[in-house]
């Protein structure tokens, strides 16, 4: 395990912040002089109190707005002043999971996942093949035809993870994925995200669930008042999730 973790740490950079500052139009400071590198296959927690800049950090990666200063690279490409027309294609390579799930209430579980393929121009055959596969991965094969309001919060978040992962993006960004869920359900969601990480996907999770962060002992980037105040890798990664994961042999190999 330690050997493979070392290899992952030496992987090519997926996200690079280079002295990035973001000032909003109304003058609010979102992020100031942030520099960090997230490498391929890493699992990174982004922590800090509300209003510390976590959302700014995430929205910069999603290219919802331009950085005011500095440079931001995704997969080696400078996206600081990216052509507007190119942004959708960047987002197709980034899976996103949010606290409020962002599911479409008038569509079934299957259609919600299929929708993200549909609007990116996937063929019918591709949709028919990928959607059930992704839903099987998150353990919702039996609820394909349910509507989101018929599911529990944890199940809804699984649908949104299935949607984010259906294209097997190299980068998965989760903004408070367990913010609306009880501790037990949260653990299940974190396990799922961890399993996705094990397939080689780089994962960034913003959370203020301190207990979860302490328990998982992954790399932590802490933000406070728009600054990165801590960026540390645990000396030894916990085996806890790996142990749990071993009892679920349905890890996706893709």
């Amino acid at each position: 395990m330690n050997a493979s973790e070392t290899v992952r740490q030496m992987g090519s950079p997926v996200v690079e912040f280079e002295h990035v500052t973001k000032v909003y139009d109304d003058g609010t400071l979102g992020l100031e002089n942030a520099s960090t590198v997230i490498r391929e296959g890493e699992f990174v927690f982004l922590v800090g109190p509300t209003g510390c800049g976590k959302s700014t950090f995430i929205r910069l990666m999603m290219k919802e707005f331009d950085a005011t200063e500095g440079h931001l690279y995704i997969a080696g490409r400078d996206i600081t002043h990216m052509d507007r027309d190119r942004i959708p294609f960047l987002r197709r390579n980034i899976g996103a999971v949010f606290q409020d799930f962002k599911l479409l209430p008038n569509r079934t579980v299957y259609d919600n996942v299929a929708y993200s393929l549909l609007v990116t121009g996937a063929s019918r055959a591709e949709i028919r093949q990928k959607v059930p596969h992704s839903l099987r991965l998150v353990g919702l094969s039996t609820k394909l035809h349910n509507y989101p309001d018929q599911l529990s919060g944890g199940e809804q978040q699984r649908v949104s993870i299935a949607r984010a992962f259906v294209n097997h993006p190299p980068l998965l960004i989760c903004d408070e994925p367990t913010g609306n869920l009880d501790p037990e359900t949260s653990l299940g969601i974190m396990q799922l995200i961890y399993r996705i990480n094990r397939t080689g996907t780089t994962v960034v999770v913003a959370t203020h669930d301190k207990q979860m962060v302490d328990r998982m002992r992954r790399r932590v980037i802490e933000l406070k008042d728009s600054h990165i105040v801590r960026d540390e890798r645990a000396a030894q990664y916990t085996q806890e999730f790996a142990a749990i994961d071993d009892t679920h042999q349905s890890v996706d190999a893709a």
Partner: protein, 299 residues
């Protein structure tokens, strides 16, 4: 391009978002109707005014006392005038012939022909009537205050310009009012279509958010809204054209024989009008959707 997806999305919002769509549909319909009524009316009015203008001429009445040489010299002078297109001689007998009914009887009672011979001078351009009249007048005035003329053969010069000017002023006013009204209506329709699209953007904000998140291109997101707007416009235009067709066949066609105006050759062809109306209805709504999408759908 996934047109089935775009159409089903557009129809879906039309169904769910029907109240503003109906308002926009009705406004587009009224606008198209008004355009459909006013375009032929201004056409007729302009046609009539042009007809009057084209018949505009200067009548140069020849003094009975004029010698043949003077008359011939006058003709040469008129034909040499740069503004004149043609000169037509009307003899005293022809002038009498042209009188009709009671007037003719009256002139016969007189026992002699009181009408002078004249040259009917057609200008190259109706606007040059004044120039022709002026070129025939000499600067000196006679003692009675009447203008004197360049040739002794001229008794009087008349043109019907005053009447024409009145007609032109009225048709100009009608045209101006029509265009003002049309522009106002077009703006209102465009704004209402825009408002409909704005509401449907609001109703579909979650879909739009998800589409952006998973990387749909901006035109993929816009298409359903554009289709929705154009659909509203085309439906409004179509209904207006149908109403005009019914009106034409039940009211205009039966009486068109009795009113020469309706049958005037330069009245616009109905199918041409239909084409113009449908294109403008669709353009109006496309304009409305476009403006709204630019403002409210930042993708």
């Amino acid at each position: 391009m996934n047109f089935r997806f775009f159409f089903s999305e557009a129809l879906r919002t039309l169904r769910r978002n029907s109240a503003p769509s109906i308002a926009a549909f009705l406004t587009v319909m009224v606008t198209t109707l008004v355009l459909g009524v006013f375009i032929p009316i201004t056409n007729i009015a302009t046609g009539a005014a042009n007809d009057v203008r084209s018949r505009l001429m200067v009548e140069v009445f020849i003094s009975d006392a004029a010698t043949k040489a003077e008359v011939a010299a006058l003709k040469g002078k008129l034909e040499a005038n740069q503004y004149v297109k043609s000169v037509n001689y009307v003899s005293k007998a022809e002038a009498q012939e042209s009188l009709s009914g009671t007037l003719k009887d009256a002139s016969e009672l007189l026992g002699k022909n009181p009408l002078p011979a004249s040259y009917q001078v057609t200008p190259k351009d109706p606007d040059q009537v004044d120039a022709i009249v002026q070129s025939l007048q000499s600067s000196a005035k006679t003692s009675s205050g009447k203008p004197s003329y360049v040739s002794p053969a001229i008794d009087d010069v008349q043109n019907r310009e005053d009447q024409t000017n009145k007609i032109l002023t009225i048709t100009g006013g009608v045209k101006f009012a029509m265009w003002g009204l049309a522009i106002l209506l077009v703006l209102t329709s465009a704004l209402l279509v825009g408002n409909t699209i704005r509401l449907s953007i609001y109703a579909r904000r979650r879909e739009v958010e998800v589409m952006r998140m998973v990387g749909a291109t901006s035109w993929f997101i816009r298409w359903p809204f554009v289709i929705e707007g154009v659909f509203v416009g085309a439906a409004g235009g179509l209904f207006a054209v149908l109403m005009l067709l019914i009106f034409k066949q039940t009211v205009i066609d039966p009486v068109s024989d009795k009113f020469a105006l309706f049958a005037a050759p330069d009245t616009i062809n109905f199918w041409g009008l239909t084409l113009i109306l449908m294109v403008s209805a669709v353009l109006i709504s496309a304009l409305g959707s476009g403006m709204t999408l630019r403002r409210f759908l930042r993708v």
